[in-house]
Symmetry: C2
Subunit: 318 residues, 2 copies
């Protein structure tokens, strides 16, 4: 008999700040149903997290007693129920074990915690190397890591508004570093004086020479970033760089700066890159231009697989 | 007879983006009258620059034929009449010689130009050193330099929204570097995710230990800036740094980053600092903490003296 795999074992939810994604999963991880929506943490607060979740569960015909596992910002202090951070270094077991059950619900809903890197605690096995880890947090990315199955010693890069570089140990997260790259790019391209000299809607990869020039500038001279940013304003006044090329250069400079920072923190020069869309191309190009070996990791499947791993531990303890 | 000094020789105007300042000056530079207002370039455009100027001249009882010299953003493309940049390296004579007379006015009004540092042209005498100057512009600061009387080889720091570091030659400006420090501080403290973890109204100098800690972090590891910025967000979640201390640390990190950039561009480790109010204290503290020798330069008198020097050349050629 193999029909048991078509019976739902749980629902798995990746519940971010602005997005919601649900999978109906069999015991072996088979996808039996799926929902995507914009019901992220920010918009779900008003109708209520429970109501939003039940509506999506009903749409995939989930039974009333089907358990649900959740990761992401729904577990933050501003979310549904806070799942307090577990401390780094954090084993996958400790992460799954830190899941919080949503109270006052007949249905068993567990929210996975994020991971915190606190001052004086960062690094664990790496701490002896004196590597410069700062206070940091991840929430949601730990579940991607659990699903990726990377071997110990791997380094993972997850681009985003706050990109994350994560050092992987044996079934655990050793340490990590977030960079404000994406947010700073947004601020500078839309709110700063540079907005007058660049085209914030341009396609950065269509100006790859300008992008790579920016990567080299940001990577080669991090101390000069505040000056090189102003230089773009001067170039705008001189008319010496088109607005589309200026956007590409700005993007490149900030990615180059991030990569030079990651290179100061991590000893590796090979990295697994998990991203989709334009960010994947930008990071792959920037990493290659600065001497890194890049291996593609599947970000999309990773969250689902990580949630499944957590669900097996939460709902089916050995 | 010394009474001639009490007869007005010209009016001198420092006309910035958001401020207007006028002095009525005797031939020897004696101040015979003064006006300050918020009639900067942005607000003067609507009533008209000429009307605003004449109103202030009338208030100090200036004669109809009194000549006027102007510096600052009123000479930019978005200002009153554009006074095109002169190229660096720029002698004080070339700057005064680049003044543009406002057309269609009976009164003789001259607007001093800014200075441009164009790609491939930067540095002049310094270019042989291979120092990393970028494309850059100043407008208004060149007049301060003309008034300061610094000896050749001096380095000047003028803090502000876009702070300026200027290398001084023999009666000329050799090269310069602008840094987006002030603007980035504003953006990060009021528009970024960090706004939730800091008190944008706090007094930075009242938290001097946090400020200096930030200076050391930004100065010591420029490549890590994007990561250290995010670390402040994590510290906010951990409750491990007060909002006032966080603002001071952010300010320090950005000043430290700027100073590390200036140190990569200029060989000096002593600098003249011209600023007023809180910025003066912050820069003096940050420069001292990073090993610089700081000498105070009077920014307020400098503009007036520079305008007077320009006026003597424009209205009273030898």
């Amino acid at each position: 008999m193999t029909t048991s795999d078509t019976r739902p074992f749980c629902a798995a939810v990746d519940w971010g700040t602005t997005s919601f994604r649900l999978w109906l999963l069999g015991r072996d991880g088979t996808v039996l149903g799926e929902r995507r929506s914009r019901d992220g943490m920010q918009s779900a607060a008003k109708p209520g997290f429970q109501a939003v979740l039940e509506q999506h569960l009903s749409a995939v015909k989930a039974a009333d007693d089907l358990p649900v596992i959740v990761c992401g910002m729904a577990g933050s202090r501003q979310g549904w129920v806070e799942a307090p951070y577990v401390d780094a270094p954090a084993s996958f077991d400790a992460i799954a074990g830190g899941a919080i059950r949503v109270p006052d619900m007949a249905r068993d809903v567990r929210i996975l915690p994020g991971v915190a890197q606190r001052p004086g605690m960062a690094g664990g096995a790496l701490a002896g190397d004196g590597l410069p880890f700062g206070p940091d947090v991840i929430r949601g990315e730990e579940t991607q890591v659990m699903g990726l199955g990377l071997s110990p010693g791997s380094l993972l890069c997850l681009p985003g508004t706050h990109s994350k570089w994560i050092s992987i140990g044996d079934q655990r997260i050793e340490a990590f570093s977030s960079f404000m790259t994406g947010e700073l790019f947004q601020l500078l391209s839309t709110q700063s004086i540079l907005r007058h000299t660049l085209d914030a809607e341009a396609d950065v990869m269509a100006e790859s020479a300008s992008f790579i020039g920016g990567v080299e500038a940001g990577h080669g001279a991090p101390a000069l970033i505040l000056n090189r940013l102003f230089s773009m304003r001067a170039e705008g006044l001189f008319g010496s760089r088109s607005p589309a090329k200026a956007l590409a250069r700005l993007s490149g400079m900030l990615l180059g700066l991030e990569i030079s920072g990651a290179a100061a923190i991590y000893p590796q020069r090979s990295v697994f890159l998990a991203a989709s869309g334009p960010l994947f191309d930008l990071y792959r190009t920037a990493l290659a231009a600065t001497g890194w070996t890049v291996t593609v990791a599947d970000a999309d499947e990773a969250v689902r697989k990580g949630l499944m791993a957590g669900a097996l531990q939460c709902f089916n303890p050995a």
